[in-house]
Symmetry: C2
Subunit: 444 residues, 2 copies
């Protein structure tokens, strides 16, 4: 018990050779090199902050109350780790959150006896993942959805057809385009997705009808979780964007393509996507993703100065979407993509979002839009993969799909592959359930 934690502080928390005293399977998404943050509760206790490692959750509030997590975050008054969302903690900014991750890494190392050898402390601080309930990690004040993938954008133009087919809008290579999403309907992975009704113009009809959507789709996305915010009227320069970026979650922007096609011009999407959006429970920090930086696609023309990012902009993160029909034993992967393919970067999202002085807030989500890549099976939504329901795709384990059917469970996942370990995101899932029996939408 008398070991000074500084004795084991020599290695960087991202060092590939680090090992924990807790067992972590090689294919686990949560090795000691990851340490994503979330909110969990145990029976009868309030939701609080935790860190995932292997099959366990580290209770940050318990660590702090044991005196083992004295960081600048602990000086902010009432414990930031005892709160039901991470917003106040991540609002402190990168230095503070990095410090906590580094400290947790030290405490979990195989050669640090402080927690390893203290049975009573382990019982207090460590919970089996199977024994906890996960909650929304953040209160989402703002949700913006971008369109960072050139492949996705080209596919959409191609499917719509017309004069613009084969080339993007004139502004596309000058700014990372985006729209404001609906924050109130962002839910945690695992929340069922009831098929919505909506106003739709059916093919060949003169007038629209209000009916259950026949084109329910998923979108394979990731999203920045904003850490420290910026003041209204200020901008975040591209070189300072990292300081405002806490981490990344998976995001499924469930879409009703028939409602969307009818409503989207001229103001953009609204009720076609506001019925539900799912995010994964564990926020993977940008600290953990740092070793996986990589070059992005060449940006031609070069971005304006306020968007001109030096160095490696992108991250090599494999992404995958699967569908498991209700009568299937196993999911069928329907998309394999990679964040590396995105034309615009996370930092460019932040710089553009604030370019006119908009204030970002801790916990805001800045989503990538559908992450498609080039090549077969690399389309991040069924709209692209089936060309808006015109060409069925075959599922690996049998059957075909044009759009999602009731009973389908969609799972998004992602991971960065290290040498002998994976920095992963876990899953973002949602089960499609039938439209409810309220036929006229008149309930209150």
């Amino acid at each position: 018990m008398s070991v000074n934690p500084n004795q084991v502080a020599g290695m960087h928390p991202n060092d590939p050779t680090l090992r924990s005293f807790l067992e972590v399977a090689p294919e686990s998404h949560f090795p000691i090199q990851n340490l994503p943050f979330g909110i969990f509760s145990t029976d009868g206790d309030s939701p609080r902050a935790g860190v995932a490692i292997g099959e366990m959750v580290v209770d940050l509030q318990a660590l702090e109350s044991s005196g083992l997590l004295k960081t600048s975050a602990s000086n902010a008054g009432a414990s930031l780790f005892a709160r039901p969302v991470l917003n106040d903690f991540i609002a402190l900014g990168r230095e503070a959150t990095t410090e906590v991750r580094t400290r947790v890494s030290q405490l979990l190392r195989h050669d640090n006896p402080i927690l390893r050898d203290d049975v009573a402390l382990r019982a207090k601080v460590l919970h089996a993942m199977t024994s906890v309930k996960l909650h929304m990690p953040i209160a989402v004040g703002g949700f913006s959805d971008f369109m960072l993938s050139r492949e996705h954008s080209l596919n959409c133009v191609d499917i719509v057809g017309g004069a613009a087919a084969g080339q993007l809008w004139r502004n596309w290579t000058y700014l990372p385009m985006a729209y404001n999403g609906r924050a109130s309907s962002v839910v945690l992975s695992g929340t069922p997705v009831k098929r919505p009704r909506g106003q739709v113009l059916n093919e060949g009809q003169a007038a629209p009808v209000y009916q259950p959507t026949a084109k329910l789709d998923f979108e394979l996305e990731a999203a920045i979780v904003v850490g420290r915010g910026n003041e209204l009227g200020s901008t975040v320069g591209i070189a300072h964007a990292d300081a405002h970026m806490f981490g990344v979650v998976l995001l499924n922007d469930w879409s009703t393509r028939d409602v969307q096609a009818w409503e989207a011009q001229p103001l953009g999407v609204f009720v076609s996507k506001s019925h539900r959006t799912s995010i994964s429970p564990w926020i993977v920090t940008f600290d953990a993703l740092e070793p996986f930086r990589t070059d992005g696609p060449e940006q031609t023309p070069p971005p304006l100065a306020y968007l001109n990012q030096k160095g490696q902009r992108n991250f090599n993160v494999h992404m995958q979407a699967s569908i498991k029909p209700k009568d299937h034993a196993k999911p069928s992967v329907v998309c394999r993509s990679n964040l590396q393919a995105l034309y615009w970067s996370f930092a460019q999202q932040v710089a553009h979002h604030t370019s006119t002085g908009c204030n970002l807030m801790p916990g805001d989500l800045l989503a990538t839009g559908t992450v498609s890549a080039s090549g077969p099976n690399a389309q991040g939504c069924l709209y692209e993969a089936t060309r808006d329901g015109q060409q069925a795709i075959a599922l690996e384990h049998g059957g075909t799909r044009l759009y999602l059917e009731d009973g389908d469970e969609v799972a998004l996942t992602a991971w960065a592959q290290g040498q002998g370990y994976r920095v992963g995101f876990g899953e973002c899932t949602g089960l499609v359930t039938p439209v409810d029996s309220n036929k006229n939408g008149a309930a209150t």
Copy 2:
């Protein structure tokens, strides 16, 4: 002091003959028939709930602690009136908020001695408007901006020109179209509006630049303040929409038309409007607006059942926008319009917004979009009035404008005209200040 308030409870709070013992000028926006809600503070005290009457503010927390405001709102635990925003109070729904307004009306009547004749109580409960500071009345979780005015939409199509000129989008008469706005940048009336920089494609140029906007505009709007919310996955039927609508504020959706023109296709507006949006401080309740219901324009084709509203949909509320250049003594009115002109109604906004199951939250703003009407000087923004800066308008008190100039103060106002009294909204103002000296937008 022994008068039973029920003795004076016979008259409806909207009765045109009601008078208060407090002096209210005939042109005041806040007669006893109005009683709008807001948040105020006095020197050294915390922000709390108040009601405006004439030149005074009624302190609801003080009324409640004096035992004079025992309503169902008082039973909700810690005082809802002591909180810095009205969200928790208005979340109770129309019955609860109506009850409070009715009780305040009783206490302010000329023939009720309880407050009138108690000098000590009056000193505690009543504050001169000039002595208080007003605050944001709500925490805005969601901000949606609609396009309810047919005249505004037709003007926009006409200015853009092309094949679509003279007719609206095919979906326009079937649904009240809208987009998600940015909630974080909604500010209180009186907050200066710094001219933003943004990405703009100047005429005749091949590539865009990042520069101060040359086309800063106002938009004359009103917005529903949502009271009781609805659960995610539920819809609010048109006949039940009123139960979710607490009141209305003025809203100025400050817009940068050059940034907007360059960014808006295909996803809609984003940074061109997210720099700042202003609202008026006093929320005029739908209870107070009820006597001013009127027919809206005929809706052809008839709306689908979920949007088909019976009875009088609209409200006869005069709206006005003025500009006061910095060297002018008086403002020049540049737009006179009326909410009555809106094609789609407030209730239809709510029904459509929730049609796919989106959850509304207490304090959400559902804005009308620019309120234009037919006829001269009835265009609710400079984009329309000057045809995007092509035709200068003359100001009543001298000078012309294409777009807003530094030093211009824009004031929106609105009122419903009763017999001998006005149910008004006060003002929503903003002074345009110069772009800041940060030339490259690189501040953090």
